[in-house]
Amino acid sequence: MATATPIATTRSAAGMPTGRLAIWWVVASEIVIFGGLLASYIMHRLAHDAWSVQAANTNTWIGAFNTLVLLTSSLFAVLGHKAADEGDGPKAALMLRLTALGGFVFLTVKAWEWTTEISHGYTITSNTFWSFYYTAAGLHALHVLAGAIVLLIVAAAAKKNLHMNRVELIGIYWHFVDVVWIFLFPLLYIAK
């Protein structure tokens, strides 16, 4: 039935709605994915002093700007959650769209940054530092892209006051993507 409420909204056998449990499960599995990648980066970075020479070529200001963009988008995401709790679907939708806008700004800046770096000869095959750089930042960027698309889908429903519980769920995912960048930023842009 098209109007039936999804079981993820109503079922609460685990002490919270199943949908929220599922998103925390996603976050936990993502911790292993990104955690393994970052741990690998850290151990190689500590073992190879030469990497600091390579890291010096990343642009701290661009990284800082993108951090600001993601932090701000997280603010909009949690304001969307608040609006959804208050039953204000249109406002929640607006906040989610602003969150997605932050994601697209992040990706645009990242695309420009990568274009500059590649044009200077720093590609994914240049050396192991740049391999890690493009892999970690690229995997993160894919998560930003996926999150931004889902944000827009959830926003479209929220505007009609439908599936309001999903506003919080996509918010949790988005905050996690923010947290990953919070660690990527010092690793790739500050520790030189």
Binding site: T5, G15, S40, M43, A64, L71, S126, G171, H175, I190
Partner: protein
């Protein structure tokens, strides 16, 4: 509506204030390296990253409002990351250990094996 029976509403704090603190911490982490002191850079970069991540998890993700087992689930995954690091790091960061060492042939193969990799390391 059935949703209302299971969806407890989150306590919402002053998110703008949290965001402002996060931005201030970001500025500090960017300024840190300008002092040119390694310890200061490490603290302002990674110490502040941990604080920022904690603030986002608690204030934006509301992890404290989730059932206790969610915290255990997330913590377990973080511990697995540390276990992975502890298990693999000696192979990467040390030249020798109990019953093994990185021979010069291994070093050469490792460094040159990547082709561009070795060239890139000396850019």
């Amino acid at each position: 509506m059935a949703e209302a029976h299971t969806e407890e509403h989150t306590h919402h704090g002053n998110y703008l204030k949290i965001w402002a603190i996060l931005v201030v911490l970001l500025v500090v982490s960017v300024i840190g390296p300008f002092f040119g002191i390694k310890v200061v850079t490490l603290i302002t970069a990674f110490g502040i990253a941990v604080i920022k991540a904690y603030m986002v998890a608690v204030n934006f993700m509301h992890i404290n409002g989730a059932p206790r087992y969610v915290l255990y689930l997330v913590t377990t995954c973080l511990l697995f990351m540390l276990l992975f690091f502890a298990g693999v790091a000696p192979d990467v960061m040390k030249d020798s250990g109990a019953g093994w060492d990185k021979t010069s042939e291994w070093q050469t193969a490792h460094e040159v094996g990547g082709g561009h990799a070795a060239e890139g390391d000396h850019h």
